[in-house]
């Protein structure tokens, strides 16, 4: 970006900030000034897109959210804003020859990422497919419920956000409430999303989920270690999705998402695509890999493979 353009951007932002602040001050004066709760309501109403917040504004927002969540759930909740790690691009491998369809990943994900328990929101959906038909989504079954898995004649294919390089969902968002971060994770600003659900129509993997109702998250189930763009408790009326457990994986290189840790058969692999020594690179270079709906050119960073 040329200097002139940067400067023009800054000027534009400054005026907008002023305009918003003026508006906020004006409306704030209408609300009862001494009432903290109503002040927080106005602050959250006038909050800007996360990517446009200055450092000090981010601190204000985080403090406000932490206070709000801590009061609501009766325990301290941390909201982090850790940015992408340098030189990291996350990739995910899923071993179809190992997966047994136990859905431990589904529920491991739910408890790590503070999804609504009532109604239930699952970021991972496990499809049961027949070995005869192969990967034939039209005959996939999501609601299989046998006494024991795996079942004879079937294999299982968990599907979650593919963190596409050429993501159809971010392109269609009318307000840029969702975008791809530098480490490849596609995130949603839950305070900016207007809930139009265009991204859900655009996603070929059914990876985006909507809060049709105020999320039912019992205080006892809250995971207090959260990220602003990730697993913090969500409001009603916005879209959410898998974020590769950024509250864990961004803290330190080598940390795994919850689904990778919980998988009892080691079917899930995770790592840095830019690191030639990583496990995920080994998988891509040495195993039979396939991309779901490759013809759509979404360029996922989620690779299915067969280890045997």
């Amino acid at each position: 970006m040329s200097d002139r353009k940067t400067r023009a951007d800054r000027i534009f932002r400054l005026t907008r900030r002023k305009a918003l602040k003026g508006l906020a001050a004006g409306l704030g004066a209408l609300a009862v000034p001494s009432n903290d709760a109503s002040a927080a309501v106005w602050e959250s109403f006038f909050q800007k897109n996360f990517r446009e917040l200055s450092r000090s504004e981010v601190q204000d927002v985080v403090a406000r959210l932490e206070a709000e969540y801590s009061t609501r759930y009766g325990k301290p909740v941390k909201v982090k804003t850790t940015p992408s790690l340098e030189g990291v691009l996350y990739g995910y491998g899923l071993d179809l020859s190992r997966c047994i369809g136990c859905r431990r990943c589904v529920y491991g994900c739910v408890s790590e990422n503070n999804q609504s328990r009532d109604p239930q929101i699952h970021w991972i959906r496990v499809l049961r497919l027949s070995k005869e038909r192969g990967v034939d989504l039209e005959h996939a079954e999501q609601y299989y419920n046998p006494a024991n898995v795996p079942e004879e004649g079937h294999f299982y294919m968990p599907v979650q956000c593919h963190q596409c390089e050429n993501a159809p969902c971010t392109k269609v968002c009318p307000v840029q409430a969702t975008w791809k971060e530098n480490d490849g994770i596609v995130v949603v600003d839950y305070n900016w999303c207007i809930g139009c659900r265009y991204c859900m129509a655009a996603c070929p993997y059914g990876a985006r989920h909507f809060n049709w109702k105020k999320p039912g998250l019992p205080a006892a189930d809250v995971n207090p270690d959260t990220h602003y763009l990730g697993n913090r408790p969500r409001p009603v009326g916005v879209v959410e999705k898998c974020i590769f457990c950024m509250q864990r994986t961004r803290e330190m290189e080598g940390k795994y998402p919850a689904c990778v840790e919980v998988c009892p058969v080691g079917a899930r692999k995770f790592g840095n695509l830019l690191d030639p020594e990583s496990e995920i690179r080994f998988v891509i270079e040495n195993k039979r890999v396939f991309i779901l709906k490759e013809e759509l050119n979404t360029q996922p960073k989620f690779y299915y493979f067969y280890s045997v």
């Binding site: 305009a19 499809l127 039209e138 269609v172 207007i194 139009c196 909507f210 009326g237």
Partner: protein
């Protein structure tokens, strides 16, 4: 500026005057709007869970109605073209009514989109500079731009012309003609952009067909004019406004051509999907035949198809096109037929089966139906108000008084059944 204010004030005085029938009609509409608002408040309070939409079918009745209404609005050009490009007098007299239809339909479209939002209070995020409008990346951003532009355009054209007539002046065509000509591509654009909104999603093969935008336009040029013909019949029967049979028959003829195109394009799509018989056939099969025991839409779509084909023949044959009974039947068939085809018949199969092969059969809940009825009532209310002002102005019953300040109101009743003329009109129709 003072004159504008006097005009607006005069309009409000006029809106309060009317026959018992006018008042009844307005109160009935207001009652429906009230019910819709109550249902919407309930939806706001509980979240969109009170609708039947879920993750698999994430758009439903609201967006279906939105899509249909965009078509109705776009159809105003079918009056503008003969009126102002070909200077055909019978339609020129009524072109303004078409523009007012466009205004009302746009208001409905914006309401339908708003009630579908999960966080309507964040609408300001869409306003450029204050929020972030993702233009030109997102087709929804395009839609926001063109829909609002079309609304403002039609409102200004009709408003300026009526304002001029009110002050007994001829509108300055140097301003109006370019705007009118611009409204033609603008009408095409609102429907094209709305089609592209679906069309651009590779994840949904049912929508991802290049024939979608042409089909949208063809069906819009059927449903909008059909609705307008019905409306015109009501207007000429219940108000003092005259609309010639000639104008109505010409519109009916245009509908016949548009319906031919619509059916042809539909046939082209059905052929391609069925003959190539790929995995992409599933949504169409679900719509027309039912798939794996899921067949909620089948009876609807066949009703729509039957209605459209019947109406096509009714409008193709001059004898039935120019007979008031068959003409009205044809209009109703088309309006309903396209409402099903371009509404639920277009939106729902895009989601069934969903991208992972899951079947969720959607049918709207009570809340969705009540809110939708409320928005339809609001649209009709807006149209009634606009007509209440436009019709007396065009009849010369509402203009500035001798003193140049106060309005002169010559039509205090507005809605009255015209018994004597009614017979005369029927006679007209029969002799034609």
């Amino acid at each position: 500026m003072k004159k504008v204010w006097a005009f607006v004030k005069g309009c409000f005085i006029l809106l309060r005057q009317g026959s018992k029938l006018y008042y009844t009609w307005v109160y009935v509409l207001l009652a429906f709007v009230g019910i819709g608002v109550a249902a919407y408040v309930n939806q706001l309070y509980n979240g969109l869970i009170v609708t039947a939409m879920r993750d698999q079918v994430s758009w439903g009745f609201y967006i279906s109605n939105f899509t249909f209404m965009v078509g109705v609005a776009a159809a105003a050009v079918l009056l503008v073209i003969p009126a102002y490009v070909y200077q055909w007098k019978p339609i020129k007299e009524i072109a303004i009514l078409g523009e007012l239809v466009a205004v009302s339909a746009m208001v409905m479209c914006l309401l339908f989109v708003t009630v579908d939002l999960g966080r309507p209070e964040r609408f300001w995020h869409l306003i450029p500079k204050i929020g972030i409008l993702n233009f030109p990346q997102s087709l929804l951003a395009w839609d926001v731009v063109v829909l609002n532009m079309y609304l403002v355009l039609n409102f200004s054209i009709a408003g300026y012309m009526l304002y001029s007539y009110y002050y007994k002046r001829q509108p300055n065509m140097k301003y109006v003609t370019p705007l009118l000509l611009f409204s033609i591509p603008a009408a095409v654009s609102i429907h094209t952009v709305t089609a592209f909104l679906y069309n651009g999603l590779a994840a949904r093969p049912f929508w991802n067909a290049s024939i979608l935008a042409p089909r949208f336009l063809a069906s819009a040029f059927c449903s909008g004019p059909a609705g307008m013909i019905l409306m015109f019949q009501v207007i000429r029967k219940w108000t003092k406004f005259k609309i010639t049979d000639q104008a109505i028959f010409k519109i009916a003829e245009l509908i016949a051509y548009a319906m031919f195109l619509n059916l042809f394009l539909l046939g082209a799509e059905v052929f391609k999907e069925y003959y190539s018989d790929t995995a992409h056939l599933a949504p169409m099969k679900y719509l027309y035949q039912g798939l794996e025991g899921h067949s909620d839409l089948v009876s609807y779509i066949w009703t729509a198809t039957l209605f459209n084909i019947t109406a096509f023949f009714l409008f193709l044959i001059p004898q039935t096109r120019e007979n008031q009974v068959t003409l009205n039947i044809g209009c109703i068939l088309i309006f309903v037929g396209v409402y099903i085809e371009k509404g639920m018949g277009l939106v729902i199969p895009g989601f069934v089966p969903d991208v992972l092969g899951d079947f969720y059969e959607y049918s709207p809940t009570g809340t969705e139906i009540l809110v939708t009825m409320g928005i339809w009532a609001a649209g009709l209310l807006v149209y009634t108000m606009l007509l209440r002002i436009a019709i007396p102005i065009m009849n010369g019953d509402f203009h500035v008084g001798e003193d140049g300040i106060h309005p002169h109101i010559g039509d205090e009743l507005f809605l009255v059944r015209r018994v004597a003329e009614d017979v005369g009109e029927e006679g007209d129709l029969l002799t034609q």
